[in-house]
């Protein structure tokens, strides 16, 4: 990624903290939620014209710290200075008045409204009753040209791609004449190409005098765009360093207290020689799941999967890369029998499972880690034991003819807790009180104990910290090594590239290409994820939407 390295150099040229006092200073910030300490005595400062990365694992307190600066939370102790003056920021409005804006990970836009309407919402109009859209549009076009953030002011936001919506959010902030911009995990849903264009836009913003705080957990991004980096761990400040004075593995050590970069990337293709052999065998072994010309509707009853064909073999991890919303959920659901198929056929281990009921498909050998563990994978008001029998409550030994067998339920729960090292708040407690990683272990425990033939893992590590992510990857690899066909659908391209044996790219409900991991390169995959075959350019990436 040459653009990134260019950006890096430019970023450092602008960086000069000695040039006057810091723009923003946060001193000794402490913030708690109940017993959870989100930030403890954290100091943070932002220099004029720099991109300052705020790095940490999920739950390290990055977003909390910035939400305090943006007036969403109030700290228990600590002081904030903006432009050298004590600032009492009680609400986002106060933050805006201090020239601070934040773009959240999940956009806060109104999909049926136009870009302009979304940008000017909440602002006073010079005309008293009517919206002053023409002036607003002019200003939006100006901003868009100035910073290289391409948007169409009259487009309906609901029709825009994620990248375009993000540009709208950024322009919405800039429209309010701010000069301090906070971006929360801005790249989590972008293709590599969209990411590059974002980085270029950020660079042009700092070149023109803005200052940016960039929240992320990706080391590569820190190295690519920032001039300084502040690392948080469990709500505690680990340090602030110049990006030029550090490297990815030092940062990783600061972030998690140990070096994990090598471990994660070392898993590609297996890690051990034994599993390499198995992986090699997998290439020759037969298909355990065949998807033949499958078509299906999405939730809006629009034909979304079009003639999709895919073959999953025994003992392999097939990673599906793609930008969110290109048919991953629909694909997982048709395999699991949760979505009706309009045309085509699905064959699982020699039997046509097309349009069988979810229970029949599960009984035949499917395990499925759903993308939304909180709302699909689990029932939060249930105990662990109840959640573990959600898929098998109807059969022995978990129940008799009429009644549930609570003793067996408890025994099974204890076994899964031991086997999967689940940290619980008690057998009788609702799982609601458990952490994300442990919740996913409960789902994993239930699904893997089915002894499946096929395992669908949809965003299995989303929102989890590095430790839990690593554990889940190991479990997926273990399943693969024992001969299960693992279909990994993930928005995290790094994840797909690091543990898959083969990689397929999904775009607009179609498989664009399938390749062995050894032959895959990020650039090509990125282009395919954006729907481009062979050509570069960002216009095509938004093509996802023009169809709707």
């Amino acid at each position: 990624m040459t653009t990134n390295t260019d950006a890096l150099k430019l970023g450092r040229q602008r960086y000069d903290i000695k040039d006057g006092e810091p723009l923003v200073q946060m001193k000794s910030i402490t913030c708690r939620f109940g017993n959870l300490i989100a930030n403890q005595n954290v100091d943070f400062d932002l220099a004029r014209g720099e991109i300052h990365a705020l790095l940490g694992e999920n739950g390290a307190g990055k977003t909390t710290l910035m939400s305090i600066l943006y007036g969403l939370y109030r700290p228990e102790t600590g002081e904030i200075y903006v432009r050298g003056e004590r600032a009492n920021i009680k609400s986002p409005l106060d933050a805006m008045n201090h020239g601070i804006a934040m773009v959240h990970q999940h956009f806060l836009l109104t999909p049926p409204h136009t870009v302009t309407e979304n940008i000017i919402v909440g602002l006073k109009s010079r005309k008293r009753i009517f919206l002053d859209t023409s002036n607003a549009e002019r200003k939006i076009v100006e901003l868009s040209k100035k910073y290289g953030l391409k948007v169409d002011p009259s487009a309906i936001v609901g029709n825009l791609s994620v990248g375009e919506q993000q540009r709208v959010e950024i322009i919405k902030a800039l429209y309010r004449d701010i000069d301090i911009l906070i971006l929360d995990e801005p790249t989590s849903m972008l293709t590599p190409q969209e990411e590059e264009s974002l980085f270029a836009a950020l660079q042009s913003m700092v070149d023109q005098g803005l200052s940016i705080i960039f929240i992320t957990h990706k080391l590569r991004e820190v190295m690519a765009v920032s001039s300084r980096v502040t690392v948080l761990k469990n709500g505690i400040l680990m340090g602030t360093v110049k990006t030029s004075d550090t490297n990815e593995s030092d940062l990783a050590r600061m972030m998690v207290g140990r070096s994990v970069v090598q471990q994660i990337s070392g898993q590609r293709g297996g890690g051990g020689t034994e599993s390499e052999v198995v992986a090699a065998q997998a290439k020759k072994s037969q298909a355990v799941l065949e998807i033949k010309n499958v078509s299906a509707l999405n939730n809006s009853k629009i034909l979304f999967l079009k003639d999709l064909s895919l073959e999953l073999r025994k003992g392999e991890i097939l990673g599906i890369a793609g930008v969110d919303g290109n048919g991953q959920s629909e694909l997982a659901e048709v395999i699991a029998g949760l979505r009706k198929i309009q045309g085509g056929q699905i064959i699982m281990d020699g039997r046509a499972t097309t349009n069988l009921s979810p229970r029949e498909i599960r009984e035949w050998g499917l395990a499925y880690i759903p993308e939304d563990r909180l709302n699909t994978g689990l029932i939060l008001e249930y105990t662990i034991a109840q959640n573990l029998i959600l898929d098998r409550w109807y059969k022995a030994p978990y129940s008799g003819k009429l009644f549930l067998n609570e003793q067996e339920m408890r025994k099974f729960a204890e076994k899964v807790i031991a086997d999967f090292d689940v940290r619980t708040t008690g057998l009788e407690a609702q799982v609601r009180s458990m952490s994300g990683g442990n919740l996913q272990k409960v789902v994993l425990g239930r699904e893997l104990s089915r002894n499946p033939k096929v395992l669908i893992a949809h965003n299995p590590t989303r929102g989890l910290d590095i430790g839990a992510t690593e554990y889940i990857h190991k479990q997926l690899i273990k399943q693969r090594d024992s001969g299960v066909g693992v279909l990994l659908l993930s928005l995290d391209l790094d994840e797909v590239m690091s543990i898959s044996d083969r990689i397929a790219v999904i775009y607009e409900g179609k498989i664009m290409a399938v390749t062995d991991n050894e032959n895959a390169d990020v650039h090509t995959i990125g282009l395919l994820m954006g729907g481009n075959v062979g050509k570069t350019g960002f216009q095509k990436t938004s093509g996802i939407v023009e169809k709707k």
Partner: protein, 360 residues
């Protein structure tokens, strides 16, 4: 710096807060009574005496508890599967119709069998009527709230038609002949109206508890109610749960109707229920969809109803006052729920950057 926060309570206040809330509702009720020119303390005394002051009063309260408990359970079962059955009133009338049809025909004269038939047919009539909204919901995705509400009117008009024609007793009044003695529920407390229906209602509460919390189908029902996406994903049968739940819910309301015919009125007439089916919604909500909670609330509401009847007879306070009190109780208890789980806390925090906060 002053910070106002909502804090989760550590101690479990759940048991007494609802009673405190209900007490506050009575305080507001007292203000209304006072404004109407009645001495509230006197009025409440009469009410309390009316509900509990005599054997007859207690018996009357228990008779009303029977109906309220059954409809409360009916609505609660459906709510547990997140199905909003607002049609308990109609299902109750269908059950009453079924009971009356048995009670005035030949089967109703056979001792032993007659009572079983009356209750069973009441359940069947109410239950099958509950299956209509279930079928529409499963097959066409029709919202069950609309269907159940509207079916109430259909039933009331249908019964009105029957009572003015086909099953009308000789004479001018629109009601059926009296049911055979073999179809009447026995009085279990001599010289009062207290009939064996209260036993049936208590058994129903136990049965509902076992059904929902101990059986396989109950687990499926509660899972569908708690999280339909998760239930579907895990391979559960949402349609089956919907049918079972609406059958049981309608059936329980039907039994309430059958008991009104065979234990209270001994015939079917218009207005046999003073809106029990609708009060059942409130009871299910306040009772947290749990049989024990529903039983407690049903008893409380029954006392309120029988007490306010006495209050009406003695002081001439309209019985609509009982409705007002019920509504006040609902509002206060729901607000009280919030403070059961959360408390408002104001903290004064020193503004210095000192690090006095320790871990945990």
């Amino acid at each position: 710096m002053k910070v106002i926060t909502l804090q989760r309570r550590s101690i479990n206040f759940k048991s007494f807060i609802p009673f405190l809330s209900a007490g506050l509702a009575f305080v507001v009720g007292a203000i209304i009574l006072y404004a109407a020119g009645v001495d509230p303390i006197n009025a409440y005394q009469i009410m309390l005496k009316g509900a509990f002051g005599s054997i007859r009063g207690i018996a009357d309260t228990l008779v009303k508890t029977t109906s309220l408990l059954l409809v409360g359970l009916a609505v609660a079962v459906a709510f547990k599967c997140r199905i909003w059955n607002i049609g308990a009133e109609g299902q109750l009338y269908m059950g009453a119709l079924g009971a009356a049809l048995i009670g005035i025909t030949a089967i109703g004269a056979i001792p032993g069998l007659a009572l079983i038939a009356v209750i069973a047919v009441g359940f069947a009539f109410g239950g099958s009527f509950g299956l209509i909204p279930a079928a529409l919901k499963v097959k066409f995705g029709v919202n069950e709230i609309i269907v159940t509400v509207l079916l109430n009117f259909v039933v009331l008009l249908f019964i009105s038609y029957l009572l003015h024609g086909p099953i009308k007793a000789p004479g001018f009044n629109p009601y059926t002949p009296e049911i055979f003695p073999a179809s009447q529920l026995p009085i279990i407390l001599p010289h009062t109206h207290l009939h064996a229906g209260i036993i049936i209602a208590a058994l129903a509460a136990i049965a509902v508890y076992i059904l929902l919390w101990k059986t396989k189908i109950g687990f499926e029902i509660r899972s569908v109610g708690a999280n339909i996406k998760a239930a579907r994903y895990a391979g559960m049968n949402v349609a089956k749960s919907t049918f079972v739940v609406m059958g049981v819910s309608g059936g329980l309301a039907g039994v309430a109707g059958a008991i009104l015919v065979s234990g209270v009125q001994l015939q079917l007439l218009e207005g046999i229920s003073p809106g029990y089916g609708f009060i059942g919604v409130i009871i299910a909500l306040l009772g947290r969809q749990h049989p024990v909670g529903v039983a407690v609330v049903a008893f409380f509401f029954a006392a309120l109803m029988s007490g306010s009847q006495v209050m009406y007879r003695t002081l001439g306070i309209p019985s609509a006052f009982a409705d007002t009190l019920q509504a006040l109780v609902l509002i206060f208890v729901l607000i009280g729920e919030l403070f059961t789980r959360w408390k408002i806390k104001t903290k004064i925090i020193k503004e210095s950057g000192s690090s006095a906060i320790s871990v945990k």
